[in-house]
């Protein structure tokens, strides 16, 4: 069984937002909501500035609080490690939105179910990569199977130092960020 993860090489992100557009089109994300976003941060003082582009999306956590909290089991884990939503079971209690530390979820107002990034489940099924990965101009987003030691994600994680977001929340997330700025000695 594969275990799908995403590795994000922040140093290669140019902030073109093509991933956001591709995701919105592919998944018909309603206006004012996003399944993925790119956070732009500039830190430091003048002449000593650092700019960080941080693409963010659902972390498909191993210990996902949204899955634990869901009263009906609409949010669930699939065997491939992804977290998916069975829309016909969602009662709209909004507990998963409160539970998510990554602000990955939103309510689809038109149909009243909670929604989020699905790693483009419909594309995975036919052997394609998620829309954001396919469109990424700088190959900043890399998607693949962590259980396969030869896959690109496994190799990247072997060769580089990386981190995950909000590790302290105890969710064991599956989006890995390759450290853009190596620690100074």
């Amino acid at each position: 069984m594969p275990k799908y993860v995403m590795v994000i090489d922040q140093a290669r992100c140019v902030g073109c937002m093509a991933c956001v557009v591709a995701c919105t089109l592919e998944n018909s994300v309603p206006p004012e909501h996003y399944r993925t976003r790119v956070i732009e941060m500039v830190t430091g003082d003048f002449l000593n500035l650092r700019s960080e582009m941080r693409p963010e999306l659902c972390n498909h956590c191993d210990d996902a609080p949204c899955v634990t909290v869901c009263p009906t089991g609409a949010s669930h884990h699939k065997p491939d490690g992804t977290v998916q939503i069975d829309r016909s079971k969602c009662v709209g209690c909004k507990a998963c939105i409160a539970a998510c530390p990554y602000n990955a979820r939103y309510i689809n107002e038109e149909h009243g179910y909670a929604d989020k990034c699905s790693f483009c489940e419909q594309r995975l099924r036919v052997g394609k990569q998620p829309a954001c990965v396919a469109t990424c101009i700088g190959k900043s987003r890399i998607f693949g199977d962590l259980n396969d030691p030869e896959s690109e994600v496994s190799q990247k994680l072997r060769d580089n130092s990386y981190r995950v977001l909000k590790e302290a929340a105890g969710t064991s997330p599956n989006i890995y960020y390759i450290n853009q700025f190596p620690k100074r000695m």
Partner: protein, 410 residues
């Protein structure tokens, strides 16, 4: 079969009788319920967009009211404990009215949760046996079970006792005593589980503090009895039921301890957050001082604190506690204070600042307010009708017809 129908008519007839104040009260409640129902129809047809709830603040006014009312329902045990365990007679006689209030409060709780759901047509997924609940892992599933269980226990106890009394029989304490004993930990559990619902979310540091469940219980043991004390005084004014001052003052004394504990726990929370001054201080700062100029809740929170402290001293001093005028002032202050503190003051700051650092200042829309008033009116109407039947049954004015005897409802 015939006897059942006649008895049902006896009950209906009793509800249909009363003086003009009674009818004015029922008419007012009916009007508010209609307004609430109309507003809810609009929410159903247009969706949750008519509320101010958004992705940043996903729970709002409905869940705030729910949280407060769970406390009111749980507090019925504050009466049961001294009445049955220590056999304190004056309170024993009024336990029934406390349990009926728990029934009304739980009904309101369930209504608020259901109204908060965006897809009411899929509600069957969370019903036991029919749908498949995500049982041991989801605290929401636990909450559904304990709330309905508590409703069932209170319905059984009070309806069994009333039924026996209406048939002029002594009720068998051996049958209901185990249920009464069970209702004590169960009442603690409904409020604890509701607290854990918030408590378990590591994404929201304001809720993710172990002090939350104890504070829930402490505040519940203030607000619930406060509401009951006022109702008891109304009951003894409009009916032949005699409620001793001794019982009322005893409850007031217990409330003073509960409020003392509540204020102490609040102080502990204050110290921990402000002295350590970590990043998790932000929600608390928003609540009491405002964050980046956003300070919607600040005046509410400070008045809640002033009300609670004033009420604490009123209930602490025997002179003011045993004076019905100051006692009632204290009760009203506690109800308002806890309603703010355990309502919006608990739910909203959990979402502020959001996980991206956004500050969305939630304030309920008119539709939310009308629906909320409608739900409260429904609860009040249920309680009114329950009392309308329970009072004459306990005083012996209302008795069921028997097979041999002709109808004797006067």
């Amino acid at each position: 079969m015939k006897i059942l129908a006649t008895n049902f008519l006896v009950l209906l007839k009793e509800i249909g009788r009363g003086n003009r104040y009674y009818f004015a009260w029922v008419a007012l409640l009916a009007l508010l319920i209609c307004a609430g129902a109309a507003a809810y129809m609009q929410q159903l047809s247009e969706g949750m967009i008519v509320t101010a709830i958004r992705d940043q603040v996903s729970w709002g006014f409905y869940i705030s009211n729910f949280t407060f009312l769970v406390g009111v329902a749980a507090a019925a045990v504050l009466l049961v404990v001294p009445a049955y365990i220590y056999n304190f007679k004056p309170i024993k006689e009024i336990v029934l009215f406390g349990e009926l209030m728990a029934i009304a409060a739980i009904t309101m709780c369930i209504m608020f949760v259901v109204i908060d759901m965006g897809r009411i047509d899929r509600l069957w997924h969370v019903l036991p046996f029919i749908g498949r609940m995500n049982f041991p892992s989801s605290l929401l599933a636990w909450d559904i079970i304990v709330l309905n269980g508590y409703l069932f226990i209170n319905l059984t106890i009070s309806f069994y006792a009333l039924y026996k009394m209406a048939n002029s029989k002594e009720y068998n304490l051996n049958i209901i005593k185990p249920l009464i004993i069970l209702s004590i930990p169960w009442a603690v559990s409904i409020h604890t589980v509701t607290a854990f619902l918030y408590n378990g979310l590591s994404a929201r540091p304001f809720w993710n503090a172990s002090i939350l469940a104890p504070r829930f219980l402490a505040s519940a043991f203030c607000s619930g009895p406060a509401l009951m004390l006022i109702v008891f005084q109304i009951i003894r004014k409009v009916s032949k039921i005699e409620i001793e001052n001794r019982a009322i003052f005893k409850i007031a004394e217990l409330m003073a301890y509960a409020m003392g504990i509540n204020l102490f726990l609040l102080a502990a929370e204050f110290f921990k957050e402000f002295y350590s001054d970590s990043v998790h201080l932000a929600p608390m700062e928003y609540l009491y001082f405002g964050l980046h100029g956003k300070d919607n809740l600040v005046p509410w929170m400070w008045s809640a604190m002033a009300f609670n402290i004033t009420a604490f001293f009123i209930f602490l001093r025997p002179q003011t506690r045993e004076n019905l005028f100051t006692l009632n002032i204290g009760c009203v202050l506690i109800i308002i204070g806890i309603y703010i503190e355990k309502g919006m003051g608990l739910v909203i700051p959990g979402f502020i600042p959001g996980t991206l650092g956004e500050i969305y200042q939630y304030s309920p829309t008119v539709i939310e307010k009308i629906i909320t008033v409608g739900v409260w009116a429904t609860g009040a109407l249920i309680y009114t009708f329950l009392l309308k039947l329970a009072i004459p049954v306990t005083t012996g004015e209302l008795r069921f017809a028997r097979k041999e005897e002709p109808l004797r409802a006067s």
